[in-house]
């Protein structure tokens, strides 16, 4: 069974996932259309480089297409796709770290201070680059994906206590960076 594009556009995601699992290419294209903004946004937060994020998102979708028959529940598609995305990002990070001599471009050493230029607005993606890899992952999953500490612990296989301390430390650092911008933003509102 295959639905027209218009029907696919109105169908519930569970139906589309089931069709895509059975090999319906059009159904999978609809899933790509629906999920791509979210997935690319998540990967951009994690790797900061939009081009790399799009390449990784593409890899994730192609991997998802190949592995979809192994999905246990159609309702779990979103969480499954997120797990694929994070694993893909981690693999890319490991291979990049293995060949890089300097810090990776998406990770700045703690000693490098983020000093906002006059009138510059808070750049969250740039600020996230000041966090260590696991810190950034936990912070993004908590703030951007709305996941609980327990869910993050399950997804990342990090102990719950580690997840909590990553989020606490990451939050403190981001708040420090955000505060550096606050006076400028307040001034611009006043002016």
């Amino acid at each position: 069974m295959s639905l027209s594009r218009a029907a696919l556009g109105e169908a519930a995601e569970a139906v589309i996932v089931a069709l895509a699992m059975s090999g319906d290419r059009n159904a999978f294209c609809e899933l790509v259309r629906r999920r791509q903004v979210w997935l690319r946004g998540l990967l951009q937060r994690l790797c900061r480089d939009p081009t790399l994020a799009d390449d990784l998102a593409q890899q994730v979708f192609l991997q998802a297409w190949r592995s979809l028959p192994a999905l246990k529940s159609v309702a779990a598609f979103g969480a499954w796709l997120r797990r694929l995305a994070i694993n893909t990002w981690l693999v890319q990070r490991r291979s990049a770290a293995a060949t890089a001599l300097d810090p990776l471009p998406d990770e700045l050493p703690a000693s490098v201070m983020l000093v906002p230029a006059a009138g510059e607005r808070f750049d969250l993606d740039r600020a996230l680059a000041h966090l260590a890899r696991d810190e950034r992952l936990c912070v993004v999953l908590a703030y951007s994906e709305g996941m609980s500490h327990g869910e993050i612990s399950t997804l990342t296989s990090l102990p719950l206590g580690t997840v909590k301390s990553h989020i606490r430390r990451g939050t403190q650092r981001l708040r420090g960076l955000l505060n550096a911008y606050q006076p400028l933003e307040e001034e611009s509102y006043v002016g």
Partner: protein, 89 residues
């Protein structure tokens, strides 16, 4: 979400969402989608096909035994076979 998060950072995350151009990205992914490998399909289908064949054979073999007078029928069949063989000799 049950854990306390910094409200200012939550706002910063929400405000930093940007619209992403999607048509080109979707086209790029779709262009690379290939039909799933037929071997993978066969790997799924083969055990199911084998199971169907074995089940059909088992049903066929066991069917006469489910008859009420199965023993009598089997005996009669054996006798007819032996008689045919003897007649042929």
């Amino acid at each position: 979400m049950s854990d306390d998060l910094d409200p200012l950072l939550l706002r910063a995350f929400a405000q930093s969402e940007r619209p992403l151009p999607d048509a080109e990205f979707v086209a790029r992914v779709v262009a690379q989608l290939r039909p799933r490998a037929s071997l993978a399909g066969m790997a799924w289908a083969l055990p199911a096909a084998m199971a169907v064949v074995i089940r059909a054979l088992a049903t066929g073999v066991a069917a006469p035994l489910r008859l009420h007078y199965a023993g009598l029928v089997a005996l009669a069949a054996t006798l007819v076979t032996v008689w045919s063989l003897l007649a042929a000799v």
